[in-house]
Amino acid sequence: MLSPYRALDLTDEKGFICGKTLAELGADVIKIEPPGGDPTRNRAPFYHDTPDPEKSLYWFAYNAGKKGITLNLETADGRAVLKRLVATADFVIESFTPGYLDSLGLGYTFLSQINTGIVLTSIAPFGQSGPYRDFKTSDLVSMSLGGYVYLTGEPDRPPVRIGFPQAYLHAGLVAATGAMIAHYARQVTGQGQWVDVSIQEACAWIPLDSYNFWEFSGLLEQRHGTVRLRPETGVRLRRIWQCKDGYVDFELYGGALARAFTIPLMAWMEEEGMAPDFVRGRDWARFDYSAATGEEVDRISEAVARFFLTHTKAELWEGGIKRRCVVYPVASPREVAESAQLAARGEYWVRVEHPEFGDTIAYPGPCFRASQSPPVRLRRAPLIGEHNIEVYTELGFSGEDIVLLKEAGAI
């Protein structure tokens, strides 16, 4: 869909997925790395566990679909090249320290003089303004300040983050959203603009309602491991249940959701003679947790826990599917890779060629399918400087110029 447009991607790990998303929508995305390559190329896991800047699976996953060039913005030649590139581009995405581009004379004001339509999207830990503007961040720091870490973990241990870094993925995806809204506005006005993304704000959207609990009840939601404790009643709702060979996710919903949760599960338990008398014949559609006592919910939960322990994860997943009952497995990457649903979804797994390894790697493909646009065939992430000649030649540099730029340390 975005094939007429070009994006220059100057980001580090804080913004990779932004350019990747634009590439999945069809844009020509050029990843611009410092000479020698982006430091995140050294991020594990590596292909066959061989540490090498051309073998990072993390780098591959979030830079597939992009072209790659090297450019040193610390040199005058490098900055001159970037200005020529900006004249050919529709989007610039960056995640430098706030103020850095300005200090190079490459801030929004300047870029928009080269190209009034340019949409500059800046991703920064706390955005481009405010008392924390110059503070540092990491995944753990952003997720903590966003309020999600506080809600996660065991009550007798410190709060925990999600075990795979998420903050920069949220921020990068939010950045793509801002860039695309600015792009649409540009179609109407001809004028680009500056999109200022705060990683903290992207993360502050993640907690569902902890802010509301404080604002309305003066209560704080706390972490309770695998149960959810309703702050207003103290009722403990278990979310994760042990089964024979692992864990499943199920909630004892009443009300409208009971139809896909509690009602079919109780019928299933009855089928197998595992429903105690006190759960039989109850009207779960009218069951209300804000009125139920903790003791009552605990008793029901014990019966459910006993039932799950008699089955394997696969039995519960398949049995649930048969009965339209929402019992989902707590899945490992292996189970995601082997998912029958994903396998049945046409070309969801994209086998990307890595000629350097004489191998192909299965990547999760774009999550959107659009009727007017065939899915973009993602190429593997670029090697360091792979498209230097192609891109710089297109800009009008001669072979000799390119050699000089290389010697000058600009590319």
Binding site: M1, I17, L25, H48, F60, P131, S138, D139, L140, V141, S142, V149, L151, T152, E154, R157, V160, I162, G163, F164, H170, V174, T177, G178, M180, I181, A182, V195, E201, A204, D209, W214, L220, Q222, G225, T226, I240, Y247, D249, F250, A256, V326, V330, A331, P333, R334, E335, A337, A340, L342, A344, R345, Y348, I361, P364, C367, F368, A370, S371, Q372
Partner: protein, 402 residues
């Protein structure tokens, strides 16, 4: 000028992923009509907390949080004339959004094929949970369970405990952004070609993007991840530490030698930085438990805000582990105007988060509080769809607006 002020959206979605997608469009000026049923209202309307702890369909701030800026109507899609009203709304709209179980819109006669007949410029977005095709196309679920199907629970928590699945519907905060990107691309395509299109976005597939390297590590290297609390290979210390007060915590992440020195200096123990047991990352890894207890000894006597401020000033990434209250009082979020106060018809004044980015020319934030159930029936049916007074009363009596 608002970026999307010429765009009209018919929002048939419910719970979070669909409504949040439509709300983001409304924040940037799109006119959005949220279609609900008053006989089976959005489940979010029954989510606690409730204003003054009194339950009611219009009293949940959680529903409000995901539906600001929309016009709200009630419509009975089981009634044939209800379906007719829905079709008339679609004629008005540029974009239709829905997240029913696949097949429901088609059975109602509201599938894309029918809606786009004579309307080749119509854009429609479906946000199915697991995809519109495949063996599980019709299997129900919520973002809560989907997060575990993708593996977020499996990797979160401690190796010796159960998986600590992230609370709430985690994946519902991923797919709306992808959805808005795809919709903007579809609008751009329409501007160039005159053609609308149908966009399907599987929430399952969107979420898998956020663990892609873990899946590739399995398929390429055969590795399964383990739960390891807050630890991180490349950083020591890297954890959440107790501070003064009840449930007060701070996060500290030390990646570089300079950050390590900054931490030691700030702890008033510069000599620690020279201690050969901690001088290199490899050594720090070996002594991680010791380092954690040294750090916690220092943090325990101070407030989380003090720890954050001292360490950040020394160039060390550190943070308050924010509770709902800390978000409410966060000076950075306040300075950037992240929470916007609006006066809801039944809840009264309360705060809504704006989108997590600012734009220099077309800033977006909630334009109106979330609607009460059917609050804008009059405006939408009479003004937008042009229904006469007489017909309005007749439809009302027939239960079309139930």
């Amino acid at each position: 000028m608002k970026a999307l002020e010429d765009i009209r959206v018919a929002d048939f979605s419910w719970v979070i992923a669909g409504p949040l997608t439509a709300m983001l469009l409304a924040d940037f000026g799109a006119e959005v009509v949220h279609v609900e049923s008053s006989t089976s209202p959005d489940v979010l309307r029954s989510v606690w907390p409730m204003k003054d702890r009194i339950p009611g369909v219009n009293r949940s701030p959680t529903f409000a949080r995901y539906n600001a800026g929309k016009y709200g109507i009630s419509l009975n899609l089981r009634h044939p004339r209800g379906v007719e009203m829905a079709r008339r709304l679609v004629v008005w709209a540029d974009i239709v959004i829905e997240n029913f179980t696949p097949g429901v819109m088609e059975r109602l006669g509201l599938g894309y094929e029918e809606l786009s007949r004579g309307r080749s410029d119509l854009i429609m977005l479906s946000l199915p949970m697991l995809g519109r095709t495949g063996p599980l196309a019709h299997h129900p679920g919520l973002g809560v369970q989907l997060s575990d199907l993708i593996g977020f629970g499996n990797i979160t928590g401690w190796a010796d405990r159960e998986p600590n699945t992230p609370p709430g519907a985690y994946t519902d905060l991923i797919s709306p952004y992808y959805a808005v990107c795809a919709l903007m691309a579809a609008l751009d395509y329409r501007r160039r070609t005159g053609k609308g299109q149908y966009v399907e976005l599987s929430q399952y597939e969107a979420g898998v993007q956020f663990v892609a390297p873990l899946i590739m590590d399995w398929t390429v290297n055969g590795r399964e991840p383990v739960r390891r609390g807050n630890r991180c290979d490349r950083a020591v210390p890297h954890g959440v530490y107790k501070c003064r007060g009840e449930e007060q915590w701070c996060a500290i992440a030390v990646f570089t030698d300079a950050e390590w020195e900054g931490l030691c200096r700030t702890m008033g123990n510069a000599a620690l930085a020279d201690d050969p047991r901690y001088a290199t990352l490899l050594e720090r890894r070996r002594h991680e438990d010791e380092i954690d207890s040294l750090v916690e000894k220092w943090t325990a006597g101070q407030s989380a805000a003090e720890v954050m401020s001292k360490l950040q000033r020394a160039g060390v990434p550190a943070a308050v582990v924010s509770s709902g209250r800390d978000l409410y009082e966060d000076p950075q979020l306040a300075d950037r105007g992240f929470y916007v106060e609006l006066n809801h018809a039944e809840i009264g004044p309360h705060h809504y988060p704006r989108p997590p980015f600012k734009m220099s020319r077309s800033h977006g934030e909630p334009q109106m509080p979330a609607p009460c159930l059917g609050q804008h029936n009059d405006y939408v049916y009479r003004q937008i769809l042009g229904i006469s007074d007489e017909e309005f009363v007749q439809l009302l009596n027939e239960g079309v607006f139930d």
